[in-house]
Symmetry: C2
Subunit: 267 residues, 2 copies
DNA sequence: CAGTGGTCTAGACCACACT
DNA sequence: GTGTGGTCTAGACCACTGC
């Protein structure tokens, strides 16, 4: 089997462009090869061909599979790695990023204690207050790209550090992608919630957007967080997205900022 | 022997160029070539060899100057570009990033109006309340890596959008790097503050860290922001850094979040 | 047109991890 | 040793900008 004709025979990746042949094709998009490769790898991730924590094929393997050079695959993987979708480990391979097993903090949570390092308080104590299956209100539906009345799972919980409540949050999940997840299962699950999502439902949160405000404690939140009524709280509304910018989770959190602060790095 | 002298033989692209910046600095580290190139370019930026908005030499020029291949220079520039220190423009060249001229919002400000797009309110109205030269307290000195009592410039101002005050902030600058900057000059300057820093003092803010809390309006802040006493405000303490992780600015801001919210993107 | 960044290739070697 | 990602090179061609 000869190794010739990989480049000129432009065949495989995505029928990139018509070029001079009569095909016309009129595709206005001239995406570079490496971006097409990137898309193909992304497909594999979305469809669960390689699951979080697993290795993907080596650069050479992918290069021959896609009929491009190793350098082109490399650039595609580089992109996906800087987006935190893949993780390279020299000598071992390239792995699908997972934020489940790593016992670190919660994904996306940027609260750090006033004194001490981010993890110095030990694990948070979880207290589930409510967990049920319900139907989406108009607001919830809009945030999750559902229709009003679609089935959702809802949970409310309090997170405490060394006995002091610090976070009260309501969580909404679309029921469809989490088919089979009962409110009970969600309430009783130990360990990182995102680990459950990844291992059981092949749902991986890729990025998130937050709206942050300062609001007074009210409507019973002051009791759950054990602060005086009217105490300023950090209100954080977060929508988390999977691979194709599909929203998969809505959280409305209230953070106490007397014991912790929200840390952000800008660049 | 012989074919591979570039890596092992420490020919040190740093020492090779006769031009400027005879740093050398005896780097005992065997970092990859492209990282060394990256450091050399960074030096040029720090020392003002190329100023914000200007072009840097072409990849080929830099390659010959540093005695490496174009691909290696490219990788170094890629890194600096993803760090927002350089901006590539196909067909034109690579430019030193500037956040001065671009009439966009304020650098690092992530406050978005509740309705409308980020810039839909037009420019903010500035109202300087106080601006003076003073000496650093222990807290200020620590944040700016100075010694207590060192000279600093301090300013307090209110930013309003369409007539409604939204931000109250205190700003501290170390006096030394801004030699010649008087309180009057700072108070009367029109246009983005960071433009002044870049053009007049060759100080460019590269990144920043923020601590965010919710606090009640008090100590006269309620009057300046025209809210009731005790209204929750977003408290944002920000330290901005220049090239070598040197802190150059401290801001303590209070944001009203009834008309705006703080937007954050996580990934 | 020449000059710049952008893409792609092919091959070499290095650094690391497993066996 | 084998296989992986990581670095570096040299040269080709493409796409864009400006003269």
């Amino acid at each position: 089997m000869s190794t010739t004709s990989f480049r000129s025979a432009n065949n495989s990746p995505a029928a990139s462009n018509g070029g001079t042949s009569g095909g016309a094709t009129l595709t206005p998009s001239f995406s570079p090869l490496y971006q097409q490769i990137k898309g193909l790898i992304l497909n594999g991730l979305r469809l669960g061909e390689w699951k979080p924590g697993e290795v993907i094929p080596s650069e050479m393997d992918l290069a021959t599979r896609f009929h491009v050079s190793q350098g082109t695959v490399r650039k595609a993987i580089d992109d996906l790695a800087t987006e935190n979708l893949l993780v390279r480990r020299q000598g071992k391979g390239t792995f699908v990023a997972t934020h489940a097993e790593q016992q670190a903090q919660f994904r996306f949570l940027k609260l750090v204690p006033n004194s001490g390092t981010p993890g110095s308080e030990g694990p948070a104590q979880r207290h589930i207050i409510e967990c049920r299956r319900t139907s989406a209100s108009a607001n919830i539906a809009r945030a999750l790209a559902l229709r009003t009345g679609d089935a959702v799972l809802q949970a409310r919980r309090v997170l405490s550090f060394v006995g002091t409540p610090a976070i009260l949050e309501d969580i909404w999940l679309p029921a469809a992608p989490f088919k089979g997840l009962t409110a009970e299962r969600l309430a009783n699950y130990q360990g990182p919630m995102y680990a459950l999502f990844e291992t059981e439902f092949n749902v991986r949160m890729v990025r998130a957007e937050e709206k942050i405000r300062a609001e007074p404690a009210a409507n019973g939140r002051e009791k759950l967080l054990q602060v005086a009524s009217g105490t300023p709280l950090l209100s954080v509304e977060r929508i988390a997205y999977t691979y194709k910018d599909v929203p998969m989770e809505l959280r409305r959190g209230y953070y106490r900022t007397d014991t912790h602060y929200y840390h952000n790095r800008l660049s």
